[in-house]
Amino acid sequence: MQYQLEGSQAIAKAVALCRPKVICAYPITPQTHIVEGVGEIIRSGELLNCEFVIVESEMAALSVAIGAQAAGVRSYTATSSQGLLYMIEAVYNASGLELPIIMTLGNRAIGSPINIWNDHSDAMSVRDSGWIILFAETNQEALDLHIQAFKIAESVGLPVMVCVDGFILTHAYEPVDIPSQEEVDEFLPLYNPATSLDIHKPLAIGTMVSPEYFMEVRYLAHKKQMDSLKIIQCVRDEFRRKFGRDSGGLLREYMTEDAETIIVTLGSVAGTIKDVVDDLNLQEKKIGVISIVSYRPFPIDALKDSLKKAKRVIVLEKSLAVGIGGILFQEIELVMKDTDAEVFSIIAGLGGRNITKFMLQEYLSRKSCKKITFLGLKEEIITKEYEFANFCGREGEV
């Protein structure tokens, strides 16, 4: 049924429909409305048979989920930004232990300087943690990806992080179709883990692994991630058959068929880019868009295939690896390494800086582009900062 709902509420509904048994929460902007939402669903009795554990830190939030999942029940938590960094040791632990926990990440910048607004620095900080990382473009997809995430996680035996742009999606009211409990129950069977903490079959979980075995363990972890590319696609197909909606999968292509230029991106900004591309294609510009849904595992073959005819690839990302540049950009360069296509990097929207149609149109109308562009960078602020720094240096004291 269609509803006009806030993104966070839609996610909360989706999570509740998946019948988790333990939900743990510690508040951080912009994730708060999600955990308030699931809390309300539990307290009101809409979701029965679920423990809502309010903890003292993000470290505890994910740790409670780890304990619950190890004891054999479906568990869920959510965080953002600094919260993700605060729990990062547990993030690696959950994937290393192959616990299929689901976590929503309301994407937000990382400080210092402290900033509560949206970018993807938080997700990028755990891109190599062994979690499956999915990015939603709309609130509908955020809802759908959560339902798919439980299925993927439990099929593969890995935790899944669903990335949802903070504020831009989490706080936006949009129409969303919410499936019925019966439909979700048919799609997502009850969780029945092969191994868990069981008094009848005492197992030691989380043992120390020496150099004799560690390489193999890591190899298998990598293999498992790469194998899950197929499962992510299967779950997308099954979801489409069941709910009649195309959500999830590895990546989404838009107007890429004859495109000479393809913009590759992550998350909700794809919507704005598509509007720009529609306008430009009316002028025969031949521009397409790819938004990556499965950021980890990274769909390298699917991208190679989708980008094979492109002459120019522009990677627009809301993150920056200080000291080298774009992060997704490096990965797309790897995808394009045997082609003649030129790859350009746009760093945009850091710390919630608006990404507007006008900015994108202006970029795409440029005769030539630098390899890396900081979109909407205010040169005057930078000049001023240098002047100030030089001034301080000269005077010897401030």
């Binding site: 269609q2 006009q4 806030e6 902007t29 912009p30 509560i116 607004w117 949206n118 709309t138 903070g166 504020f167 831009i168 706080h171 936006a172 009211y173 949009e174 129409p175 909700s268 900004v269 794809a270 919507g271 704005t272 598509k274 509007d275 919630g352 608006n354 990404i355 507007t356 149609k357 006008f358």
Partner: protein, 180 residues
Amino acid sequence: MFQVRIHGRGGQGVVTAAEMLSIAAFLENKRAQAFPSFGSERMGAPVTAFCRISDKEIRLREPILEPDAVIIQDRTVIESSDAFRGIGDNGFILINSSFEIQSNIKNIKIRHIDATGIAMEHIGRPIPNSVLLGSFAALSGIIKIDSVIEAIKAKFSGSIAEKNISAAQVAYKETLKVVI
């Protein structure tokens, strides 16, 4: 696509107004998107919220830079928030004010309504958002007053919903009188 920007202060229901507007449009089978000017505004600080209404899917995620209508819940934010910025030709501005406010922008209609006064009378609290939406329904023709009433019911319940509804209806009728 019809774009509305709402200005006011934290605690006046600015974000709720945008959300209710989007629900009203949704109830009329339109596509709608509402979102706040993301921030950590405390009570009393200037707040902006946005609502887009369209017949097609809305993909655009930028803030509303060229609104077709601006609703101002608190006239004291007009200058500091640059509230008239970007308003398109034939756009209109609806201001919560007991007196007329002038602007030198061409082709712009400015209307005022004493939303706080009506809110105090009917709701008993100076929350002007429902009143302004009632007035907006009459002025814009974009949404029906019945949809505004349903949207209020979606956001509030019990006597608070009833009071907000009667306040919105009063504003709708008063605005219509002048429009006709």
